[in-house]
Symmetry: C2
Subunit: 351 residues, 2 copies
């Protein structure tokens, strides 16, 4: 089968790999029907995060179960499934607390499971899924023809769940004002998540017309193009002289974190989901003086999928709109290039 | 009138000062019936925070209104009042959001109000109170003879309100496990606040028998004397292999912040109210990886006093227990010494 392998910065290849088979009784094997490239895949692509050896990559996919291990009873051949971006057991204290991303048996796509057995990456044709019943979410009745639905289901793997995490972390409720920093797929999904939680005033910070358009479609009431102090001043002006109750940081750089922090009103909350890079820091004294709450991290997608899924199936949210380019898996190197150069918001890959 | 003046590190004196009078129409003058020394008063006393010129000090007091400005209608001579530890207007967006400590007209005892007029310190006999109606909380029917009640009312100025802020910031609810780092008056009040919010499992980190006794009286179910990794291990052991849902940091040093952070379970919350000193920092990546929420800062005592007051008046909480030594105002230098050397938990001063 064909799978995406990262060899080093800028070096993404599609290669032949052994066809995955069930190795543990709790495994299933999934044939991938769609996967995609994540903003965080760009960190190794750009060399910000090192690649020590050629590795399978990709952590967002949907697909159909092909075979199941002996202990798997809740999934069977032909089931349509969504894979959250990490593997989790569903039984440890962390999973029971809903924090599946801190699971005692946590494993990542393209890595190894806790038995030391290799796991395939999501940007490929077929994936062995460990701890399958607690990791995957089955979706009954997905019509093969309904491409729009499938695109939205794929976002539940990561970006829509992550946007929801940003919104919850920033304590978004109907009466609170919201600023979203970052107009990538996660930033846009954060706008949608804030709207879904009832926020009526949502300011998207974006300089790209195509992304601004999706942000408005997702519920942004205002767009701010200015950055730095000018951006803060614009937010304050739009909100009648005060800063925002809830700010959602969806990038992870030092600059974006500062931008976000300075948009929060005293007593407000900052939700951050951008993987911290480049020395992003939080000055404790500033938090203390302003009584600002900071929360966030990796989204427990597995915990959030059921409630988000209900809204996707009901058609009340359509996060699949973030995919603006489709490519066949064989062109994955070009997909990374398009994302890296910001020509694409998010690329959907068909194996 | 007599008032406490700090001249520099270790140099606390009681001096004669002009008798305060109403200067602005929104002022009242309060005769202090009791005040006290705060842990944060020790920062200038120890030279950690500089004292550039001799300054009136003390920010916690209760007393009786002596005279009122022309625009004051809600307070009159003879009213018993509690003074929160800062002056606030009650009308700006920050006050309306409940964050009175970020008031647009914020002023501190011993400093100047926003008209540039000097304000007396709380550790004295008489205080001019600016923005009196929005700053002070009137308590009807306080019997002069009820000393225990008055002691508890005095804690609402700061330490009990601050303990409540720590507990709210750490998201304490009945089903969550709690660790309190710090066994000063704020730490002890944090135990009481957590218990008041319904927490049934509260671990106090303390090495002093007298403080441990009050912590238990206030609701601590366990005491941990170990610190550092041993302290974390003990907490994990007591909680059946997991760390705490809610950790309340009540000191403000680098060490206490680290202790607190490492006691929080993945997905848990850290509430911090110790004034950050000595390079206390929060590593963003750790928060991200563990999905830990951090919140806190100066407590908006003015906002919290009404609900805490109801419980003090009903006798369901008795935070006045934190005062373990009483001294006359004239001995305030000895009071600071006793606090500095940790011979006293908190000293009550009678003018």
């Amino acid at each position: 089968m064909r799978a995406t392998i990262i060899h080093g910065p800028g070096d993404i290849r599609v290669e032949d790999r052994d066809y995955p088979v069930v190795q543990l009784a709790t495994d299933v094997v999934v044939r991938v029907t769609a996967s995609c490239v994540c903003g965080s895949d760009l960190w190794p692509y750009r060399g910000v995060k090192p690649t020590h050896r050629p590795s399978a990559i990709g952590h967002e996919f949907i697909g159909v179960v092909e075979s199941t291990g002996a202990e798997v009873t809740g999934l069977r051949e032909g089931d349509f499934v969504i894979a959250p971006f990490v593997v989790s057991c569903g039984k440890c204290p962390q999973c029971l607390n809903g924090v599946t991303v801190a699971c005692d048996r946590l494993a990542g796509w393209g890595g190894k499971d806790d038995s030391g057995v290799r796991i395939d990456g999501g940007q490929g044709q077929v994936v062995r899924v460990p701890l399958a019943e607690s990791t995957l979410v089955k979706v009954p009745g997905v019509d093969k023809a309904d491409q729009a639905l499938r695109r939205s289901l794929l976002t539940l793997s990561d970006v829509m769940a992550t946007g929801h995490h940003a919104a919850l972390s920033a304590q978004v409720t109907p009466n609170r004002t919201v600023v979203v920093v970052g107009d990538g797929a996660v930033g846009l999904c954060s706008v949608l998540a804030a709207r879904r939680l009832g926020a009526e005033r949502i300011i998207a910070m974006s300089r790209h017309a195509d992304r601004q358009a999706i942000a408005r479609e997702f519920g942004a009431t205002d767009v701010v193009e200015e950055r730095g102090d000018d951006g803060v001043a614009k937010v304050r002006e739009l909100l009648g002289g005060v800063l925002a109750d809830s700010v959602l940081e969806c990038v992870g750089t030092k600059e974006s974190m500062e931008q976000a922090l300075h948009c929060v009103r005293p007593g407000g909350a900052l939700g951050f989901v951008g993987v911290p890079t480049g020395g992003a820091e939080i000055p404790l004294r500033y938090l203390f003086d302003k009584n600002i709450t900071v929360a966030g991290g990796m989204a427990p997608a597995r915990t959030y999928i059921p409630e988000l899924l209900a809204d996707v199936l009901a058609g009340t949210i359509n996060p699949g709109r973030v995919f603006d380019i489709d490519m066949p898996l064989e062109e994955v190197a070009e997909a990374y290039k398009a994302m890296d150069e910001r020509r694409a918001i998010k690329v959907l890959l068909t194996p």
